[in-house]
């Protein structure tokens, strides 16, 4: 077949790249080889636009066992235990087919975790939809939530946390970021690097069909009017088969049969075979006649680029093939010896006794171009003088308005569709500051959270990047854990545009600064570019998945008030920053202005001190203050407990709306008993932390002033109506 310029173009390879390819391999690639380049050179697999900046992220410290570059990241949690985790995007497929897109997103991230030998113990997800009034939103929301539940529940892994956000920026480009966490013994970790010559290369799992051919290219292209043509490429997930695959792999991993293993995800057999062999500096030869196929007469092109789910590639020690086959047969899974490792450092594919592709692996991995794209810096938006009319808004009206929005309402409608207690170790379910999952059979637990702040990032990417890491850190501290490490999913528009590239560069810089300062390394992650339709890009949305360690489960703490007559303190100074706050955006419709500043010194100092106070069991409850400010945080502490509070707003130079709704960072609300308050204040003073007493807990009512007294029952109604009304369910 003649390779025309149009064919090259349709493979997502530009003319420059094509010339480079021809130079690298010393010949013109045939169609199959072109398809392989198309998969390995696209953004999703190669990170060509982002690599330069990802290298600036801090990825090491004494608890990091494995940083970015493997299937997932790994940290040491003591006692020969290690935690494997990663977050990944499945945005474009979820927009096209929300149930299957979200389901296969969950499937893919679970495989990334168990391929390293870890039994998955938790799933979290960060999902973003367009404006609730947009005609597509309801269907997408329904589909994505059902899909996540459908896959995760069937796998028997609890979905313990997440976030759901709505904004018009995602109208035509929803985001589905799925995170998985698994537990493994430190001395039983499996990697993907191929080792040893003439070792059998084995394919296990589901048969290969025509699913998702060029899915990775789809993720690297914007949607436009012709998007419909891309439709039939969505994969269908089979969580039952994946559960069998999980058990079979973990069974085989009990001994030392496996040299290396990788799941087949984006770009299927192509990416796994290329990555495994090139990491090991070896070659790989595959006989495509041995690929188990679901459809008749599949071509080599289809076999190599298929993104059929629930498949793994293994390299076994010689002589272990038969025992391994028995295990996979027991679990009713396909098992086929498809090739071997070689010393040629090439990818060699054979079909019907002919060589159909032969490419140097370096051209598909280490020599993929890294781009230094032009980017534009974003200046901090000016603080426009907002009219004094903000003072006229009554507190109760503002609070009602904020709580009755999809972003601030409770999300039970979503997470009650996820089994959050299977595996019997969930200590804090969705709805808290962070999820907490006990390490099976032990006295310790891990805290897990996922966060994003797109509008802060749009306003000023560097600040937004710092803020989202800090918020994750705060959330982990608030449940009594020590923040350990993060995984990140960086969702942006088209990097070929300097404004978008600038957002990326600056968000990464912000993330980097905060992670370095807080000693909170990035161990894994994923970049999703081209989240744009008809030239409308999404707001920059870096999503951070955070992990913390609770060494003694008795030190876990929750945010609901525990007793009446306790003192309530705000820890950290309030300046009343309203720009980019829920109050400005939802109540007053003001979308401009800078995000709240981050002072990393205060962030760390406040956080570590709160950690100290929690570990000394001096507080009854803790809640970090974020979206919606002090009043929304207070509301959440009341609602979960049925205990109210009597609040006296401290006399200050700012208006009560600024005090109650300002979104200044690094702050916490703590509930302290009379018995402990002196000791707590002493500790705060010793660390020079600003704090103020704002009231005491009481029965049944939240009282702010003579104008504001609301029963907890009514508060609950305010916070829980949005989703039920949206879906007409009561």
């Amino acid at each position: 077949m003649k390779i025309t310029n149009e064919i090259i173009n349709r493979h997502g390879i530009n003319q420059d790249e094509y010339k480079k390819i021809v130079n690298l391999i010393g010949k013109k690639p045939n169609l199959l080889e072109l398809g392989i380049f198309s998969a390995m050179w696209n953004e999703h697999c190669s990170y060509k636009s982002s690599k330069k900046y990802l290298k600036t992220l801090p990825t090491k410290n004494k608890i990091v066992i494995q940083g970015p570059g493997e299937n997932a990241g790994i940290i040491d949690i003591g006692d020969n235990d290690a935690l494997v985790f990663k977050i990944e995007s499945h945005n474009h497929p979820s927009y096209i087919e929300p149930y299957q897109g979200a389901a296969t997103g969950v499937g893919g991230i679970l495989r990334d975790v168990f391929t390293m030998g870890a039994r998955p113990i938790a799933i979290l997800n960060s999902i973003h939809f367009g404006n609730s009034k947009h005609p597509k939103t309801k269907n997408l929301l329904n589909g994505v939530v059902s899909g996540i539940g459908g896959y995760g529940n069937c796998m028997g892994v609890p979905t313990v946390g997440g976030e759901v956000k709505f904004d018009s920026t995602y109208n035509e480009n929803i985001l589905v970021n799925a995170m998985a966490v698994g537990l493994v013994k430190k001395n039983k970790i499996f990697y993907s690097k191929a080792q040893g010559l003439n070792k059998p290369v084995i394919y296990v799992g589901s048969k290969t069909g025509r699913d998702g051919i060029h899915g990775a290219s789809m993720a690297s292209a914007e949607f436009n009017e012709d998007t419909d043509e891309k439709k039939p490429t969505v994969q269908v997930g089979d969580p039952f088969t994946e559960k069998l695959l999980l058990e079979a792999c973990l069974e085989l991993m009990k001994d030392d049969s496996i040299i290396s293993i990788q799941d087949m995800g984006a770009a299927g057999l192509t990416s796994s075979s290329v990555e495994m062999a090139s990491k090991g500096n070896l070659g790989i030869e595959i006989n495509l006649n041995k690929i188990p196929c679901r459809e008749k007469r599949m071509s080599p092109y289809e076999m190599m680029l298929s993104e059929s789910q629930e498949r793994m590639l293994l390299i076994l020690n010689s002589g272990k093939e038969n025992d391994a086959k028995k295990i996979f047969n027991k679990w009713n899974l396909d098992f086929s010896i498809i090739g071997k490792t070689t010393d040629t450092k090439n990818l060699v594919l054979k079909f019907d006794n002919k060589e159909v592709a032969n490419l140097p692996l370096s051209s598909l991995s280490t020599q993929v171009p890294i781009y230094d794209r032009a980017w534009k810096k974003k200046l901090v938006p000016k603080k426009l003088n907002y009219s004094k009319s903000f003072k006229t808004h009554k507190i109760i009206d503002s609070l009602s308005k904020i709580l009755n929005t999809p972003n601030n309402s409770e999300k039970n409608w979503v997470w009650e569709q996820y089994d959050s207690t299977v595996m019997g170790d969930t200590m804090q379910k969705p709805g808290g500051n962070a999820a907490v999952v006990r390490i099976h059979g032990k006295n310790k637990a891990v805290a897990l959270t996922v966060d994003s702040s797109a509008h802060y990032c749009l306003a000023h990417p560097t600040t937004g990047g710092k803020q989202v890491v800090c918020e994750t850190w705060r959330n982990l501290i608030s449940v009594g854990s020590k923040p350990m490490a993060i995984t990140n999913c960086l969702n942006f528009g088209n990097p070929e545009k300097d404004i978008i590239m600038g957002q990326f560069v600056e968000c990464v810089d912000g993330i980097s600064q905060a992670c370095k300062y807080l000693d909170f390394p990035v161990v894994s992650g994923n970049v999703s570019f081209y989240n744009e339709t008809q030239k409308n890009a999404i707001s920059p949305t870096p999503t951070i998945g955070g992990v913390g360690l609770i060494t003694d489960i008795n030190n876990m703490i929750t945010k609901d008030f525990k007793r009446i007559d306790s003192c309530i303190y705000v820890v950290g100074k309030t300046f009343g920053h309203l720009y980019q706050s829920e109050f400005f955006r939802e109540v007053m419709g003001i979308k401009g202005g800078p995000p709240p500043e981050i002072n990393l010194f205060n962030e760390r100092n406040n956080g570590l001190t709160i950690q100290n106070i929690i570990s000394q069991k001096l507080v009854n409850s803790v809640h970090d203050i974020s979206s919606g400010g002090i009043l929304v945080a207070l509301t959440e502490m009341c609602i979960n407990s049925n205990i109210g509070a009597k609040i006296k707003i401290p006399k200050d130079s700012m208006h009560e709306n600024e005090y109650l709704f300002g979104e200044d960072q690094s702050r916490y609300l703590i509930e302290v008993s009379e018995l402990n308050k002196n000791k707590v204040c002493q500790i705060l003073e010793k660390e020079s932390i600003y704090y103020e007493l704002i009231g005491k807990t009481q029965e049944s009512f939240l009282d702010l002033s003579k104008d504001f007294s609301i029963s907890i029952k009514d508060l609950k109604k305010l916070k829980s109506s949005w989703f039920n009304n949206y879906f007409n369910e009561h």
Partner: protein
């Protein structure tokens, strides 16, 4: 007029349910089963007697609701 609609996954799309049913039948001793595809069946009573109109309506039902045209296809039977 009574019509029936059968909705199935498109030919190239994975059918996990069909796969398991096929395997189970084989395990139950039915060796001559080679493949099973699972779908949905709808029976619809329409108050309309013009066959052409009925066919057009049925097409609309299928495209707008009964079938997920991204991964499914449908056949319409008009008595």
């Amino acid at each position: 007029m009574k019509i029936s609609v059968t909705v199935t996954l498109k030919k190239d799309v994975l059918d996990p349910q069909g796969k398991v049913v096929s395997q189970t039948l084989k395990n139950m001793g039915y060796d001559n089963i080679s493949a099973v595809r699972q779908g949905k069946f709808f029976e619809i009573d329409i108050e309309e007697s013009d066959k052409k109109k009925v066919k057009n309506l049925a097409e609309e039902f299928c495209k707008k609701l009964l079938s997920n045209t991204v991964i499914e296809e449908y056949t319409i039977n008009i008595d």
